[in-house]
């Protein structure tokens, strides 16, 4: 598949502070990609640079092999941004029709209505009288108005209730199945894990992981080998086993955190240890994520996990 988004060694500095540091990745047509990171990690800056709203200090960005600011690129791109209000004193319908007129082949009004779940009675309301949720739907409708091939969504579900969130992701998946490329930022791990085929993890402006949720788990997390002792061994004994990074022991229950669980198991069998009920668990992405979050000041970790649930 053709590459339609490409970032090469992109850095953005704001008054000497690096918001994004030397990030490089590319996205192919039809992908559904999450950019995952804590608040202030550089997700929004990265996305705004891709949209050509801010210029990178160094590095290059191309959309459809062209400069993101070119008109023919803008024809194929749609965006739902944070902190973007809509034009006031217009009715919802008038505003959507206006934005449709900016594009050569816009989506039909009825399709937009169906996709965004905007009720028909909202249609004739003034934009400034909408509730928060209705405004998000309107923003979504405006992002889709031009029937874009590539859709950018910056924290799209913030402020949505659980049902709207589910509906929203259903529609996004549907759009993705129709062949649209989707790139969204989120600080909800669960959302990234469930919705995206690929996650790009950003921490302190740097890409710290890029792959499918499974690949990330494999790469960034460590497997655990757990068992019960039939006869006790010392903590030091475990620590000196090859492939073991850490040991946890509670009574006869032992957890070995390994670099490679397959080889560690082989080692355990070869040594004929007196153990039983062996279990192997792959690491959890939450751990890696929470570790990253701990490094990021000013972010309430609990909030992230409560939200994720």
């Amino acid at each position: 598949m053709e590459t339609i988004v490409e970032l090469r060694h992109v850095t953005k500095e704001f008054q000497g502070k690096k918001a994004v540091q030397d990030i490089s990745f590319s996205i192919k047509r039809g992908e559904m990609v999450a950019i995952l990171g804590a608040n202030g990690a550089g997700k929004t800056t990265a996305m705004r640079m891709m949209l050509g709203l801010i210029k990178p200090t160094r590095g290059t960005i191309s959309l459809f092999h062209k400069n993101p600011r070119q008109k023919e690129v803008l024809e194929k791109v749609g965006g739902m941004l944070q902190e973007v209000s809509v034009m006031d004193s217009l009715k919802v319908k008038e505003l959507i029709q206006l934005v449709q007129s900016y594009y050569q082949s816009p989506l039909a009004l009825s399709t937009l209505l169906e996709l965004t779940g905007l009720q028909e009675e909202v249609w004739n309301q003034r934009t400034e009288k909408l509730s928060g949720g209705q405004k998000r739907r309107l923003n979504f409708a405006l992002a889709l108005a031009g029937n874009p091939d590539l859709l950018f969504l910056d924290e799209p579900t913030v402020g949505m209730d659980v049902t709207s969130r589910e509906q929203f992701w259903q529609k996004i998946k549907e759009l993705n199945r129709q062949g649209k490329t989707i790139l969204f930022t989120t600080h909800y791990l669960q959302e990234a894990d469930e919705v995206a085929e690929r996650i790009i993890m950003i921490n302190k402006g740097e890409v710290v992981g890029d792959g499918t949720p499974e690949q990330l788990k494999e790469k960034l997390t460590k497997p655990r080998v757990m068992f019960q002792e039939k006869s006790p061994y010392s903590l030091n004994f475990y620590r000196e086993l090859p492939y073991v990074v850490d040991v946890q022991k509670e009574k006869e229950k032992v957890t070995l955190i390994a670099t490679n669980s397959d080889q560690l198991l082989q080692e355990l069998f070869e040594r004929q240890l007196e153990i039983q009920h062996i279990e192997v668990k792959l690491g959890r992405l939450e751990e890696v994520f929470s570790q990253l979050m701990e490094d990021t000041k000013g972010v309430n970790e609990n909030e992230i996990f409560l939200d994720a649930k």
């Binding site: 949209l51 050509g52 709203l53 008109k71 803008l74 024809e75 791109v77 749609g78 965006g79 941004l81 902190e83 973007v84 209000s85 809509v86 034009m87 006031d88 004193s89 217009l90 008038e94 505003l95 029709q97 206006l98 934005v99 007129s101 900016y102 594009y103 405006l142 031009g146 950018f152």
Partner: protein
Amino acid sequence: MKSFWMQSKAEIVRTLRNKYYIFWSLLIPVLFYFLFTNIFTAPRDDEALWNVHYLMSMTTFSIMGSSIMTLGIKIVQEKAEGWTIFLHITPLSQFAYFGAKMVAQTVIHLFSILVIFTAGVLINGVHLSFSQWMFCGIWILFGSLPFLALGTIIGNIKKVETASGISNLLYMSMAITGGMWMPIDVFPSFMQQVAKWVPSYHFGNGAWEIIREQYPSFLNYLMIIGSLLLFMVLSIYIGKKQEAV
């Protein structure tokens, strides 16, 4: 091209729905006109002339207000609320965005002129020849250009409150010094000298000349065009400077 007309239409609709526009640019000038030609009147040699003179004062006052205030503050508001950012990621060009605002303002001005002129006819039975009405209308549309440019300078301000404060101040001080509220002949001589340097005086004076069966003076044209160029250059310069940050 379709987007340009749609954009202009939307801007016109928005202004007509704007309560501030209706109040400040239509109601207040008409009310002032009524008060200062019927209630608070000094004995005058030529009452009919005063009635036409003040009609032109109030029309230019209204148009100057909506140029500076409606245009400038809306631009600031749209920027502050992020709407302009959204437009940046659509194919609508900056040129079309500003162009549509200018077209819309001109249509709105034409509407304001018609409303206030009609009010003059209804309230005081003001009488002018057809060509005088036309010439006045065209002059006022033309003379509004520097104030639209001034509106775009206001549009560079970051906060809505600051923008509204500054534009109010500019608007009121130019209205007074330009002789829109009362003729400059009643000013002390120092103030009369000041008036000759403010574009609002020349804006008003063009129309005051026309109703006296004269033509706007060369200096009126020069000041209108000169201040238009000055404000345009300033607006572009400030805009570029902000972009660089």
